[in-house]
Amino acid sequence: MYALPAGPTPAPQRQTLIGSAFAAMAMIMLAGGMLAVWLLQRDTTLAAGDTWIPKGVGVPEVPANVMLIAFVGVCVFAQWAVWSAKRNDRDHTVFALGITILTALLIVNAQAYIYHEMDMGIADGTYQVMFYAITGMFLGMMIVGILFSLVTAFRFTGGRTGDREIVAAHAIYWYTTAAVFTALWFVVYVTK
């Protein structure tokens, strides 16, 4: 075995941060691809002289706008957790993470309300299939985000306050989800 001189102990390399950046990239591509197909199908349908949104179906705008505003809160609270973690303030970190989870639950609730208001079956038409597919993808991201927040909060509650990287990675996740929802909000709820 060749004996190359041993190097210094490798410094922490922000593995969780880079990993979450990759995850963010994947989320943006997933949402971007699905929105692109949505727009293509919409254009094709309208060009054929058909209506895109089925008759009798109304797209509720108020809960969608509330979701968008709530995402501002999610991002602020996630960043608050990062800020507190940097200062070794466990109480504020856990509190900020808790509020992040609650606000995320609010968004999930608003999405459920939209489903209830629209009252359409998934098998009723292409629009319905695509609406449930794209909002279902978004709900999946929300559930993963809530689990991520819970894990982060448990780690801090358990005393692993030195692990600030996971809090920053958690914030990156929520920023990305907020960006994804902003695009989805514009395409699905504003442009329709």
């Binding site: 060749y2 190359l4 990993g19 990759f22 691809g33 299939v129």
Partner: protein, 567 residues
């Protein structure tokens, strides 16, 4: 760990019984600890890589077998034995080539070797890499079940069509998980002193592939979600079964498939300086070439089956300004740029193989594999450029199938070269060069026969599918069949080569840590590499750290001999 309690009957005759002291008639209970095999849940990147490799080689073999069956069907161009399952055969061919062979083989080498090349003790997120393998493997098994049960793009069993789509999604998610692990490894676990410019070429290709997979596979998965829900709910908004090819077929065509070939080109780039015993000048140029091939990832993002070039008569048909951007830009970006990247790599190869005074190349058996494999990928890329030119009327012919087989078989051949090269680090043995080279030659002959006649048949207007009316085409299809048969032999011979070398390892003497006189970090550790790769994390001062060390040893020995003192 599972604990099983076993009951053993008490001995019928015992000394106690004989002496009349009475006997315990109750059965004796013994606890047996049953542990699952270590490889099942291993987080050692070398084992995960080997799992991908075994899966990839078996997947390649199965796909070659499917190609042989399709080849038999095509020989006379009319009678079809598997009339009711021919669409499943073509689905199995496409899915097998891309998800069954090219993807796992590429990931296998990346996962197994990248941490070793970087001087890392482990891969980043090892459980994610392991989950990636099992998702891919589960998806592949479900895909085979779906195709065998009348699923697939034109299948008649609705449930099996759904399973077919879902299984592809599983494999795609598995690929993303593995890619995230590889990409994070390259970016975060490099040895001290190893800047990005000093990262070995193969690891660079792994990084490019992982980024490309993270960009492309989610787009594919999102489309599959639409297709699945649409089909599951009996809708036809995406064209029903047949809509699969329209909406998701792009991943099985060029340039998206180049993504899986990038590590193969990386193997070639890695072997060149080591075999020709030179330091690579202008490393950035080689990395640029590899990255240019990665531009193919954009082909996936735009979800285009083919970026067409409007060619009218003898000149480019630019009727109005819009055409220039609508047609010429995508054509250049997705078809020409990857080929340009390949030319850059080949140009650097010419620089490295140029004879130099006092330098004696050390050509190993791995190089012919990598050279021929990369050459085949290049011919496939050149074919893609021709295929996109509308006036050649190649679209809808078997020409496209020829391109796909060129790229995937070529990538597989180069990856085999990588396996031969790094076998000492994975298993502690090195296949004999005299046995390796004939297999590489057989492989390149197989690929040329399996693909080039399809290029010719494409120009002769043989339609894609299995039926054709022109009897003159028969000879080309016979050659294709022979080619696939030889490819099956190549894969079998390669598996036999590894098995034989493994058997002989026990009786031969140790292979040594650096059997190829190589340049990079993985050759500083023992063969095979231990569980945590390196005792000490090595310090790196250049892109060829092992050459630095050998040079310093030589210098010390020379000065010692001049001084007359022991070296």
């Amino acid at each position: 760990m599972t604990t099983i309690e076993t009951a053993e009957p008490a001995p019928a005759e015992s000394d106690d019984h004989a002496s009349g002291s009475g006997t315990d008639a109750r059965p004796h209970h013994r606890t047996v600890e049953v542990q699952p095999p270590k490889w099942l849940s291993s987080t050692d990147h070398k084992i995960i890589g080997q799992l991908f490799l075994i899966g990839g080689l078996l997947g390649l073999l199965a796909t070659v077998a499917v190609n042989v069956i399709i080849g038999i069907e095509r020989v006379d161009g009319s009678d079809v034995t598997f009339d009711n399952s021919i669409s499943q055969m073509f689905d199995a061919q496409r899915v097998g080539l891309v998800f069954g062979a090219a993807l796992p083989l590429a990931l296998a080498l990346c996962i197994a070797l990248v941490p070793l090349q970087l001087g890392a003790r482990a891969i980043a997120f090892p459980r994610l890499a392991s989950i990636g393998f099992w998702l891919w493997f589960g998806g592949l098994v479900l895909n085979i079940v779906a195709l065998a049960s009348d699923g697939g793009t034109l299948g008649e069993s609705a449930d099996m069509v759904d399973l077919f789509i879902a299984s592809l999604g599983l494999m795609a998610v598995g690929a993303v998980a593995a890619a995230m692990s590889i990409g994070t490894t390259v970016l975060t676990t490099r040895a001290p002193g190893m800047t990005m410019r000093r990262v070995p070429f193969f690891s660079w290709s792994a990084l490019i592939t992982s980024i490309a997979l993270v960009l492309v596979m989610p787009v594919f998965t999102g489309t599959l979600v639409y297709l699945f829900l649409d089909h599951r709910n009996g809708r036809t908004g995406f064209g029903g079964n047949a809509g699969f090819a329209t909406w998701a077929g792009w991943l099985f065509t060029q340039p998206a498939t180049y993504i899986f070939a990038i590590p193969a080109i990386g193997v070639f780039a890695e072997l060149l300086p080591a075999n020709f015993r030179k330091r690579t000048p202008a490393r950035g140029v080689m990395i640029f070439g590899l990255a240019l091939v990665g531009v193919a990832a954009l082909g996936g993002v735009t979800q285009q089956n083919v970026a067409r070039l409007p060619w009218s008569g003898s000149e480019l048909n630019l009727d109005h300004f819009g055409n220039k951007f609508d047609d010429l830009v995508p054509f250049t970006a997705f078809n020409v740029l990857p080929l340009l990247g390949m030319f850059v790599v080949l140009l650097m190869a010419l620089v490295l193989i140029k004879p130099e005074k006092g330098v004696r190349p050390n050509i190993t058996g791995a190089l012919p594999f990598a050279l021929f494999g990369t050459g085949m990928i290049a011919v496939g890329m050149a074919g893609t450029v021709l295929y996109a030119i509308d006036d050649l009327a190649l679209q809808g012919t078997v020409f496209e199938e020829g391109i796909l087989v060129y790229v995937v078989y070529g990538a597989a051949l180069a990856i085999m070269g990588g396996v031969v090269w790094w076998a000492p680090k994975l298993w502690g043995f090195a296949p004999a060069t005299a046995k390796v080279v004939p297999i590489a030659l057989l492989g390149v002959l197989a690929i040329v026969l399996a693909t080039f006649p399809q290029y010719i048949a494409g120009f002769l207007d043989q339609p894609a599918g299995w039926v054709y009316t022109n009897d003159d085409l028969s000879i080309w299809n016979i050659l294709v069949l022979v080619g696939h048969g030889l490819m099956a032999l190549t894969v079998l011979a390669f598996i036999g080569l590894l098995a034989g070398a493994r058997r002989s390892r026990d009786r031969d003497e140790a292979i040594g840590d650096d059997p190829w006189d190589a340049q990079t970090l993985e050759w500083t550790t023992t063969s095979p590499a231990p569980g945590d790769n390196f005792v000490d994390v090595p310090l790196v001062h250049s892109a060829e750290p092992l050459l630095d060390l050998k040079a310093s040893i030589n210098t010390a020995a020379n000065s010692a001999s001049r001084d007359g003192s022991p070296a």
